[in-house]
Symmetry: C2
Subunit: 354 residues, 2 copies
């Protein structure tokens, strides 16, 4: 019933081998022959059998992009940029040698992360891009390193995007890591320069690299400024979700009503924080300042006074896509740190209290 390559060969009066060569375009074929084959393909409305092709060639055109939360534009922007870079290869009209770039949503679950990798391994994926912060659980790190090594072994290119290099895995083509520490430090230094001293911190989920790096650099900046109090009192952890930012902010206010600024783990959380402050009758930035991370497109629409650290998500995603395709040379040592730029919009007004 379904048209096969042999059918095309018969109609074009050539051998199956020749049809294959025409379709893959990586072999010298006489122009007239090519013409005839292509016509037969069109006439028969032939569609290549992917599994058969992958089986014979021992590779597939599937490229998987893993994200922690597909509903968060943070990932959407990176994934979209990567996907464009990967799919945009040959706009040859009729689907030719394109890669099939797809995104897989782990929901932040380590199990699903591994499951997706196994599924991609099954498909003999051409490449895998892992985006966003990683879990720091030792068991999971070991499992990931093993899995990635196996993937690389099977010829799959592995790229990390917005994620620090995985200890114990040299399997990775490249790791593009955001400068979360530098950004976090500059953000806090900025608030300190404005005179803030009592700063609440809404942290991300524990055991995530992004969470830890951002929080540690915040505290380091405080310490460097001579603020040596225990900060655990004004730190609340929670998922990277609006709701979490809302709840955490109420909790922080309960613990210390004299906070003059709140730093949020990311923009989504920051918006939740802003909503909570508004519901408490506090104005931003007159009564209290808020700072975030990521600088998503809508974040400043939401709160013009929001100071954030801008991560070049689009650029990072695009670069990851190119690395996954082998279209760009990996950075020295396979590791690159990507800048995090301070967008200083916070109040220059003095904080409420000393």
């Amino acid at each position: 019933m379904t048209v096969t390559l042999a059918d095309v060969a018969a109609r074009a009066r050539v051998s199956p081998a020749t049809v294959s060569r025409v379709l893959n375009g990586n072999y010298p074929v006489a122009a007239s022959t090519r013409e005839r084959v292509l016509r037969a393909v069109d006439e028969l409305d032939y569609v290549l059998n992917g599994p058969a092709s992958s089986l014979a060639a021992a590779t597939s055109d599937l490229v998987g992009i893993l994200v922690n939360d597909i509903a968060d534009p943070f990932f959407g922007i990176m994934a979209g940029a990567a996907q464009t870079e990967i799919s945009g290869q040959e706009g040859s009209g009729r689907a030719g040698g394109e890669k099939l770039a797809v995104v897989c949503n782990t929901g932040g679950s380590p199990e699903r992360e591994l499951t997706y990798l196994t599924l991609l391994q099954r498909q003999r994926a051409a490449a895998v891009v892992l985006t966003g912060g990683a879990l720091e659980d030792p068991d999971h790190i070991a499992a990931m390193a093993a899995k990635l090594a196996k993937l690389a072994d099977a010829g799959t290119r592995v790229v990390l995007c917005g994620r620090p290099p995985l200890p114990g895995s040299e399997a990775v083509v490249a790791a593009l890591a955001f400068d979360n520490r530098g950004g976090g430090r500059r953000l806090t230094e900025h608030l300190l320069a404005l005179g803030h001293r009592r700063i609440g911190y809404v942290a991300g989920p524990p055991e995530r690299t992004t969470t830890r790096h951002r929080l540690e650099s915040h505290r380091a900046a405080l310490a460097a400024a001579g603020i040596d109090e225990d900060q655990s009192h004004v730190t609340v952890h929670g998922p990277y979700a609006r709701r979490s930012g809302y709840d955490a902010t109420l909790e922080l206010l309960r613990r210390d009503p004299d906070l003059t600024a709140i730093v949020a783990a990311n923009d989504t959380v920051a918006l939740g924080a802003c909503a909570a402050l508004r519901d408490q009758g506090l104005r931003i930035p007159e009564d209290i300042s808020v700072a975030g991370f990521d600088d998503l497109p809508f974040s400043v629409d939401a709160v013009p006074a929001l100071t954030t650290v801008r991560l070049p998500l689009h650029e990072a995603g695009a670069r990851a896509g190119r690395l996954a395709m082998g279209n760009e040379a990996p950075p020295p040592g396979g590791i690159a740190t990507i800048g995090a730029e301070l967008m200083a919009r916070a109040s220059t007004a003095p904080p409420r209290k000393g």
Copy 2:
């Protein structure tokens, strides 16, 4: 080098056929045999060869979810819900008979939409979910109908989510369409009830079903209220993007500085509109009201006074996922309309002028 099913069979001292049966679990196998096979699988760290499996079985476990813009949470929420529903099938630890749910970003391009469908057709995808508004270009509709028919022919289940039924394609398992017309009508009626008479409209891109349905129902509501003026003067089209909302709003204000309300094609656009108004020194809702569509989680954080139509994105996505898996009976006629609820937060203050 790589472990094959035959290796597992040898180690377990059974035939390849038996290993296959154990792995697919859809055949009676003696418990002790199964045990032995499973042990061999673990010991050898065997991973099924997807392409080989798909070739032999003539089906794959790939499920594609197409979205127009992966950076827009509108799609992220739907896609995430669908993906969860599809992947969550068997949490059997070791990747067993799971489906591989992946999302493909068309970027709103009709060519890429078709390309992705071809790619999925190649892979003999088990199901395809198309989300969001469709393009109304006749050629593209015809091409899509033909493509979907072929997919369905090859055994791929096709589900539309948040997209009206495709004329000329009975190939589709089910179409879940949002009540964009009803929502649009109620939204405008609400503004009219508040006393608004001069209402600007920031429409989506032309030739999209969502754009047309929302705009038509808006105008119908105006007409029903006796407002018969030509609305084209206060309508500006543009992409579903923040920037577009910003620019369009400035243009609308230029055309009619006395507007008392602006309706935006969706929340993303609405936020751009709000930013433009703010930059013009207008307060919302005191000086001018803004309304939108979708009711994304952050939209109200951004602008508490924003009236929107809430579309049950999560619910729709989950249902689409179930339909794609064959885990839910299709609605009568294969078509279901999903409610669009008015979230009436708009100003009850009288509009600026008559």
